[in-house]
Point group: C2
Chain length 259, copies 2
């Protein structure tokens, strides 16, 4: 790993799988981690080999996470260097703790990391979830809000949802982007020129023949094309569409006249 | 399905899988959908049987979604009754479209559903993603923000992340909850009584022997227990802890005196 990766690893929360059973789940967890730029995987007494072919294949290209994973004998050893730990649980336990949503928990992690604390999130074994002893050493609990009639998530999916909140919180992705693949949005001049072409032909063909209705009809049509946020090449295409529609009409009229 | 389910189904966006290949992925998608209370699954020319044992088993109890899934020959037929469609894509296409984050797209879906529109989200086949022809009939695109070096998500995971935004947007889950399993948070009276017990014993044993340091030491200790947000039973336990520590000390002193 490069220095940059080491730095990133220190700055992102550790994902600690306690007694994970299946190699496949360790692989898919690694995949979800890399999706979300979480690099520090810690395994407490895993049953299967996390470097087996099954695990590597399930990681779909995220084997770097598995190769750099650290194995520990106990949860206590796995969290020893951390300052803040959340326990991810699917059901309420008989325990007095604060329970956070993933996004709120990630906010807290971010503020601790900004304060140079090292954070981690504990996930329990596939069937049973975390043991209460592991939850007891966590600062607080994360519960993922899901349909109460069906909360069962697999391990990698739980890591993915929390990791996704982590990734989102660090990236101010624009909520809305208009992508044009390099084409320029048409200037208003080009657009008005197109409207002029369209309306001239609609006058010629009689579509706009009723003077009292004309202004509203023109506005409606202009609105449609304004909403479409046309690019320059698209305006050119539409000129062609109108031209050919008109030509075709002419041809039809000529044909009809010949008969 | 009950009427209530039908109503819910109409109110939640349809999940439309275009040419899904693997039964297992249809099963895990059903599981992710039920996790997020998405009930309307539509399959366009699926390769495998979505009611096979493999699919049912992968759904982990969400077979109701598979049993109610509808099969269509073409994407056009699958979306015919809908008013608003998003296309979920992993990579930028050579197309002029608006791209939204999942949470923004879900906000738009919510506002359309409030307006009695019916919405759907398209997902493409496992390896190739959606065909550009399918994206062309969508109103806009959803891109899930993920680590650019590793954006590969499996089908069910993509459905899960978007479904999770859907579920969150409909549930005002409290960000932070202090759970006590029915125990009452200790009254300040009970807490001050405990402080009194503790400080009396610390006076007796000499821990608070320096008068000029005493006020600050007392404040520090009180702060620790205030932060812990103790419940009544916990205060009782701590009384016992102090009592037994003191008794043990007495015993030790007695033992030492005997020697």
């Amino acid at each position: 790993m490069t220095n940059k990766n080491e730095q990133q690893e220190q700055q992102s929360p550790a994902i600690i799988l306690v007694n994970p059973q299946l190699a496949e789940n360790m692989g898919t967890t690694a995949r979800a981690m890399l999706n979300c730029n979480l690099l520090d995987l810690r395994l407490v007494c895993p049953r299967d080999d996390w470097l087996s072919d099954k695990a590597i294949s399930a990681s779909s290209g995220a084997e770097i996470i598995l190769q750099n994973a650290k194995r520990f004998e106990t949860t206590e050893e796995a969290v020893a260097d951390l300052n803040l730990i959340f326990a991810s649980t699917a059901r309420r336990r008989d325990m007095i703790k604060t329970v956070y949503t993933p996004d709120k928990a990630i906010q807290i992690v971010r503020s601790h990391i900004a304060n140079k604390d090292r954070c981690g999130i504990l996930f329990g074994p596939e069937r049973t979830g975390l043991h209460n002893d592991d939850i007891a050493i966590a600062d607080a609990v994360i519960e993922i809000p899901l349909n109460p009639v069906h909360t069962s998530l697999n391990l990698a999916q739980a890591v993915l949802l929390i990791g996704y909140e982590w990734f989102k919180s660090g990236h101010n992705e624009p909520e809305e982007q208009f992508i044009t693949n390099g084409a320029e949005i048409a200037s208003k001049d080009a657009l008005l020129n197109f409207f002029n072409h369209l309306e001239t032909e609609l006058d010629n063909c009689g579509y706009l023949r009723l003077p009292h209705k004309r202004p509203r009809m023109v506005r409606s049509l202009r609105n449609i094309f304004e909403r479409a946020k046309l690019t320059d090449p698209e305006v050119q295409s539409l000129h062609g569409v109108i031209k050919d529609l008109v030509t075709h009409r002419h041809r039809k009229i000529e044909e009809n006249t010949k008969k």
